[in-house]
Every structure is written in structure tokens, then in C-alpha cells.
């Protein structure tokens, strides 16, 4: 398994490299830059600024320096727009925030989605089952950027139950709405998927065998059906994590959590190369890591996959 993890890392490195090189050239070759403004700077000042950021060197040299700094010093360079901060500062401050509510959001997705799906499957065609279909349609129609304002409207403006934004050191009241708004769609997706796979597993021959053993239904479900029923859910979580990262950019902006999403968008506005590139790398590394964890979890559950690793 360690072997497998290492092999995976070896495919990640070239991918990241392609991403860096591509984004680097894309940004640099596009017209305009972080120091282009309405009133052009006098040429001497401009030259000065460019020199300070090392931007007077040829592009490939800059790229090389950039990569070297990341690999050897874990240094993503200075921010071009936020004067006294480095990209490392921004990440150190914002990333824990995004990660925190992202984690709770994932917990919400799984901890609500899986039981909901199983209940709907067990009470096939009942009220629960239908309400879940309703929830699935609902979540399709109310994506996070429509749901979030509605939630704020209800929970903050109408009932005054929860703060409508901010972070405040990550107290739980500040985490709830971002986590729920980010996760609801995927929670519904997980529920629907779990329902389907659970129904399928319960009809499979090895469940029939378990029944023939005279085991009580509850044992059959917990011991025999749960693991295989969760495998499709686990596969589904791969794309879900990717979508949730996209969603987190919105959540950071909408709830002013202070997470890195806001810096990413600001970086785009101000054409802050190093910020954009640094955060793009961070987001990619995050997705790769999550996907790797998922694959390992998959292998842990499925012995057939495990023996192939």
C-alpha cells in the first residue's frame, strides 16, 4: 500500500508541474499585469518595481526560480497586491479556515447522506423515500449560491439564530451555515446514491446467503450490506471533493470567512500572479490528497482492490 501511495505521488508531480508551467505562461503572456493601472507608472519606477519582484528576468528563469523556491524553501513568493504579505502568509491564515468548515461540511455530507439513503432504502416507497427524492430535486434547483442567501435570510435576518458571516476564530455558530450551504447538494447526492446501491446490495446473492444463515436482519445490514453499499458512495466522493473546493471559493466570498477563496478571487481582480498561482497549486494539491485518501479508503474496504495495490 505504501508502494501504491508512492506510485501515485509520482504521477502527481508531473501533473502539478504541467499545471504550474501552463498557468505561469498563461498569466504572463496575457496582456496587462499586476502593475498596470489607469495611471501608468513612470518607466523608471516601473523598472524598479519589476526588478524588486524579479520580473525583469526572462520568463523561463523566473519560472525556474519560482519552482526552486517552492521545492527547496516551500516559499510561494510575495503577493503582488497585498503589500506586506507573502503568499505563504495568506495560506497560513486562510487555509485553516477553509479546511475547517470544509471538513465539517464533508462530515455533514456523509453523516446525514448515508443514513438518509439507508433509511429511504429500508423504507422503500415510503414517506422517507419520497421526501428524499424531493430533497434530491431541491438540491439540484437550489445550488449553494442560491441556498446560502436564503439561509442567511432565514437564520440570520428573520430568526436571528446564526451569524450571517465572519469567522470569529471558528466558533461553531460561524461554521454551521458555511458547512451546510456548501454540503447540502452533495448530501442529497450521497443519499440518493446510497439508497440505490443499498437496494442493489440487499438484492445480491451474498445477502441471500446471509439470510439463509438465519442471521437477524440488523446483523445482515450492518455486517454484510453496509460496506459494499458504501463503495459507490466513496467513488462519488472523489468528484464531490472537487466540486466542494469550487464551492468553497463561493462560501469564502459570500460568508466572508477569511478563507483562501476570497484571496483567490481578489488575486484574479488584481492580477496578482503569485497569489493566483500559489493558491491554484494549493487547491490542486488538496484535491490530489483527498483523492488519494479516498483510494486508500476504497482499498481498505475492498479486498480485491487491496490485493492489487
Amino acid at each position: 500500500m505504501l508502494n501504491y501511495t508512492l506510485r501515485r505521488l509520482f504521477t502527481v508531480v508531473p501533473t502539478l508541474l504541467v499545471l504550474i508551467v501552463f498557468s505561469f505562461y498563461l498569466m504572463r503572456l496575457a496582456p496587462g499585469g499586476p502593475f498596470t493601472s489607469e495611471k501608468p507608472l513612470p518607466p523608471s519606477v516601473m523598472a524598479n518595481v519589476l526588478e524588486r519582484y524579479g520580473m525583469d528576468e526572462p520568463l523561463h528563469v523566473q519560472l525556474w526560480t519560482y519552482i526552486k523556491n517552492i521545492v527547496f524553501h516551500f516559499d510561494f513568493g510575495p503577493s503582488f497586491s497585498q503589500k506586506d504579505r507573502t503568499v505563504n502568509d495568506v495560506i497560513a491564515q486562510g487555509f485553516p479556515v477553509t479546511l475547517t468548515y470544509g471538513f465539517w461540511s464533508a462530515v455533514f455530507v456523509l453523516a446525514c447522506g448515508i443514513p438518509l439513503g439507508i433509511i429511504a432504502a429500508l423504507r422503500h416507497n415510503s414517506f422517507w423515500d419520497y421526501s428524499m427524492t424531493g430533497l434530491a430535486i431541491f438540491s439540484q434547483i437550489f445550488p449553494n449560491f442560491v441556498l446560502a442567501p436564503i439561509m442567511v435570510l432565514l437564520f440570520t435576518l428573520s430568526w436571528g439564530l446564526l451569524p450571517g458571516g465572519g469567522w470569529n476564530g471558528g466558533q461553531w455558530e460561524y461554521i454551521i451555515m458555511p458547512a451546510v450551504a456548501l454540503g447540502t447538494s452533495y448530501m442529497a447526492g450521497v443519499a440518493r446514491l446510497t439508497r440505490g446501491s443499498f437496494l442493489e446490495v440487499m438484492n445480491s446473492p451474498f445477502i441471500r446467503t446471509a439470510r439463509a444463515k438465519g442471521l437477524p436482519e440488523r446483523t445482515i445490514i450492518i455486517r454484510h450490506a453496509l460496506k459494499p453499499a458504501l463503495l459507490p458512495t466513496l467513488t462519488y466522493m472523489g468528484p464531490v471533493f472537487v466540486y466542494m473546493i469550487t464551492g468553497s471559493v463561493f462560501i469564502d466570498v459570500f460568508f466572508s470567512t477569511g478563507g483562501i477563496g476570497q484571496d483567490f478571487i481578489d488575486g484574479a481582480y488584481s492580477r496578482d500572479y503569485s497569489m493566483l498561482l500559489g493558491l491554484a497549486i494549493l487547491y490542486s494539491v488538496l484535491t490530489f490528497t483527498l483523492n488519494l485518501l479516498l483510494d486508500l479508503a476504497y482499498a481498505w474496504i475492498d479486498p480485491k482492490v487491496r490485493s492489487k495495490l
Partner: protein
């Protein structure tokens, strides 16, 4: 003699065989009938038609243009900017005193145009790539599938934001970047279908006749998987509308004074603390109606076209 005759007939045979599979009139006729029986789907089509008509002709009912500021209400938007017939602001005004009705019309144009153009184009691109991968297999397939897997594991927002930041935010730019981001749309499913079909007799026949791969793919295979493409397009369009709305919400979408549902929802959400709820309600309602309709249309198409469900 008889073989010669057979060979002469072969092109006709290949044509007929390919034709027979799907274009067999009855397939689409049956599908249409099944679709028309689905009441939700039919109502949804009507809703969508109304939305499109609204986007196209809505301006003729507007009393204001979408960029013009109504100085009479500016500064007292909360008290006097609400929806009313009296001053011609049917949907009220936005934060800057601009007519929300006209802006919703304009936003609907943008969102629907982006949705349909970019949605369809992405599926076409994805299908062509999927068909190529499925038909040629081997190295081609490996490369395309490798790129597919990697692409899907990168949050699209990264590419989107970087691209938009550096290439401006016009409508064309938006459509282009959405197509690029969605190049994988329908790829997998078309690839699977083509892999299944490419070993059928009519394809063999066509190949034996020396038809080019290009002709086989486009003349023989594509018509047979058109139904997959149609279903997939109906899924991708609402997704694209959602994508456009999200990035517009984030402020990296369409450029002011042009607008879209997402941009309008974003403004409405920003100002709802001031009690100007209509600014959120109208665009959100249009967005939701479009999504609901598209959802049921997609559902209806799936039921009508997918042979698996029959």
C-alpha cells in the same frame, strides 16, 4: 456473379443498416410520443419557451433600459424602489436605481444564451473526443482518457478564474471558457456507446467498403448515438447555467453593465440586509424556474429515449 451483385449492393446495405437502427422513424416518433405523455416534461417545455420569449421580447415591455439610472428613486431605493406599476419598474430597481425588470430580461438573455450555446458546444466537443477515443482505441484512447481523468480531478474554478482574470470578461470569452472547461461533457458515455457499436456488422460493412474512419464516425456512428447526446445535452445545459451564475456571483463572470442571473442574485444577496428583498427574489425565481424546467425536461428525455428504462 452473385457475390458481385452483393458487393454492389453493399453500400446501400451499410447505409440501410445504419439508418435502420435509429433513424428508423419509429424510434424518434415513439420517443416523441413517450415524451408528450410525460405531463411534467411538457409543462416544463412550455415554461422554458415562455422564458425564452421573455428574454427575447421582454425589452419591448420595459419602460427603462437596463443601464439607465432612475434619479428619482436613487438614494431611497428601500422605500420607493420596490416593484410597482406606477413608475414602470415592474420588478423594482436595483441598488443603483436601475430598472430591475430590464436587467432581468438582459440577465435572462445572457444566462440562456450561455447555457444553450456553451452547453451544446461542450457536448459536441466532448462527444467528438469520446467518439474518437472509443473508435480508435489504443494510444488515442489512452491519451484522451488520461487527460479526462486528470481534468476531472482539478476544480474547474481554478482554470476559470485564472482565465477570466487574464482574458477579460466578455460574453464570447465566457462562452469560450465554459466550452473549454466542459470539454469532458458526455465524453465517457459517447466513448462507451461507440465502443459498443463499432463492432456491429454495419460498421464492418462500411469499413470493408473502404469508407474513411471520419465518414464512419460521423455518418454511421453518430446518428446512432444521437439519443445519448440529446440526453446528455439536457443535463449539461442547466449545469452550464449554474456554472455561469456561480462565476458571475463571484464577480469573475459577465462585465457590468451587462448582467446575468448569477450576477443579479449576487447583487440581491448582497443587499438583502437592507430589506430590498425583491432584488434577490426576482432573479432567483427566474433562475429556479429555469432549473426546474430543465430538470424535468431532462428527466422526460431520459425516460423517452433511454432504451434501458423501457
Amino acid at each position: 456473379m452473385s457475390t458481385a451483385k452483393k458487393q454492389m449492393n453493399a453500400p446501400a446495405y451499410a447505409e440501410a443498416a445504419a439508418e435502420e437502427m435509429i433513424t428508423s422513424r419509429s424510434f424518434w416518433a415513439d420517443a416523441r410520443q413517450r415524451f408528450l405523455k410525460n405531463r411534467m416534461a411538457v409543462v416544463s417545455v412550455l415554461m422554458l419557451v415562455l422564458l425564452v420569449l421573455f428574454a427575447i421580447f421582454g425589452h419591448s415591455l420595459a419602460q427603462w433600459s437596463y443601464e439607465e439610472i432612475d434619479w428619482n428613486v436613487l438614494g431611497k431605493v428601500k422605500t420607493e424602489g420596490g416593484p410597482t406599476l406606477a413608475n414602470g419598474h415592474y420588478f423594482g430597481v436595483d441598488e443603483l436605481g436601475r430598472d430591475l425588470y430590464a436587467r432581468v430580461v438582459q440577465g435572462s438573455q445572457t444566462s440562456l444564451l450561455v447555457g444553450f450555446l456553451a452547453g451544446t458546444a461542450s457536448v459536441i466537443l466532448g462527444s467528438v473526443l469520446g467518439a474518437t477515443a472509443g473508435y480508435f482505441g489504443g494510444r488515442t484512447d489512452q491519451i484522451i482518457m488520461g487527460a479526462y481523468t486528470i481534468w476531472l480531478s482539478i476544480p474547474y474554478i481554478i482554470f476559470f478564474v485564472v482565465w477570466q482574470a487574464f482574458f477579460g470578461r466578455s460574453l464570447t470569452q465566457m462562452i469560450l471558457v465554459i466550452i473549454l472547461v466542459n470539454w469532458t461533457a458526455g465524453l465517457l458515455i459517447v466513448r462507451g456507446q461507440v465502443m459498443m457499436l463499432k463492432n456491429r456488422e454495419f460498421v464492418d460493412a462500411a469499413r470493408m467498403l473502404g469508407m474513411s474512419d471520419f465518414a464512419i464516425i460521423f455518418k454511421h456512428l453518430m446518428p446512432n448515438i444521437l439519443w445519448v447526446i440529446v440526453i446528455y445535452t439536457s443535463i449539461v445545459i442547466p449545469e452550464v447555467i449554474m456554472m455561469e451564475s456561480l462565476v458571475s456571483f463571484l464577480g469573475v463572470g459577465i462585465q457590468e453593465p451587462n448582467t446575468s442571473w448569477g450576477a443579479l442574485i449576487s447583487e440581491g444577496a448582497r443587499t438583502m440586509t437592507f430589506g430590498t428583498l425583491w432584488q434577490l427574489a426576482f432573479p432567483a425565481a427566474f433562475f429556479v424556474i429555469a432549473q426546474v424546467s430543465l430538470y424535468y425536461i431532462g428527466d422526460g428525455l431520459r425516460d423517452a429515449l433511454d432504451p434501458k428504462d423501457r
